[in-house]
Symmetry: C3
Subunit: 170 residues, 3 copies
């Protein structure tokens, strides 16, 4: 059982307490398998993150497949959580520390699913619940839409498209 | 027949004239059925809205289904309009009044459809025409893309992802 | 064979050297077949572009169809490149010159594909490689996610949703 969360802790402290394995996108760099892309863009207080999927640094995809066919909701939620942990790596790369995030802005979650699978939001909560755990219920909660789609790169079952706000302008 | 629109009226006046039933997302709050999400995020003059669907406050979905299969374009347009009216509720929650919007920025419209349905833009116009009716042809017109997708949460046939600009910085 | 690229050239110079046929969206205006939409929105240093597809000004769609079914990856890449060239037209309409772009921010690429097609990122690179060719590897590289979808307006196989940063605030 996790210890009770106390939200006067910093985001980095909470990430450490949760034991998250946050990837370091300095080396190897983000995006190598996907062509010319960068991990993030900052302008003013806005941090626009690139797409993050549930792949580890070696390219192994967690739970490839399709919700409603060969993946359970729980597997989808695990994949979503893994994508969010990767997005934390993007945030650290951009800002140096998770503690510089003042708020999630919003997230689009794309979920590969069947035509009958209408619980895409349950899957996406695996990502957004993790963000709330790390940044707290106020700063960690953003707007959201979850879209059931045909396919994603390399059979990833989910991709996260996140915007955040930072503590001071670039 | 509607009276002729005169665009020197305020957005709130036009919304009232159109008889729109704009939901109040203070109570019950936005997003209750969808987990930890918020209705909007403001930073500077930008208003980032969360996803809005054609659901009423009790959770009843207007025209659940799939364009090209069990929904007509007209039903899709009605659903799109209902999602846009809900988004107006998100704007009021964020700003207090529709009159504080200076411009639509852009909208992504996700439409659940069959593989053969290539008129997704006709459906989305149900949402963006309503925004133009309320905010006028200049302020009410944003950029747009409409994407035909596999499925959405709770069999909604459409979801609207809107960004607007406001009259002064937060 | 193209001459070697030298990135101390301006974006307009590179676009000319590449022989790109960049459309002029002043006349006929952007969006005529799609209802009430505008090509872009500027606020501060952010340029939010509307959706761009691989259609020419007469409405002819380059490579309509579906990746994994009736289109090859190379055709998809050509369509993606054409959509990016059109987006350059949107940038010129917004700013007067491509040279006023300081950076790509990020791009969502929507690709119509089959359930088995998991190389959507290869298609999207047709668009983002062109942007890198024009703006250079630093300014021309943004964040990216590519989403395989059910269908798009008018059987376009791809739509590009781009955000850029400009040299000074509006």
């Amino acid at each position: 059982m996790n210890p009770p969360r106390t939200y006067d802790e910093s985001a980095e402290t909470r990430a450490a307490r949760l034991g998250l394995q946050i990837p370091d996108y300095r080396d190897p760099p983000y995006g190598g398998r996907y062509g010319t892309v960068k991990a993030f863009h900052r302008t003013g207080r806005l941090l626009f993150l690139s797409g993050f999927t549930p792949e580890d640094r070696s390219g192994t995809v967690l739970h490839p497949g399709r919700l409603g066919h060969d993946l359970t909701i729980e597997q989808g939620r695990e994949a979503a959580r893994a994508a969010a942990v990767n997005a934390l790596g993007g945030i650290r790369l951009a800002l140096g520390s998770l503690d510089r995030v003042t708020s999630m802005v919003r997230a689009l979650c794309f979920v590969v699913c069947t035509a009958d699978f209408d619980e895409v939001h349950q899957v996406a909560s695996g990502a957004t619940d993790l963000l709330t755990d790390v940044f707290g219920p106020d700063a960690g909660t953003g707007g959201r839409a979850t879209i059931g789609v045909m396919q994603l790169a390399r059979r990833n079952c989910l991709e996260l498209w996140l915007t955040a706000e930072t503590d001071d302008a670039e």
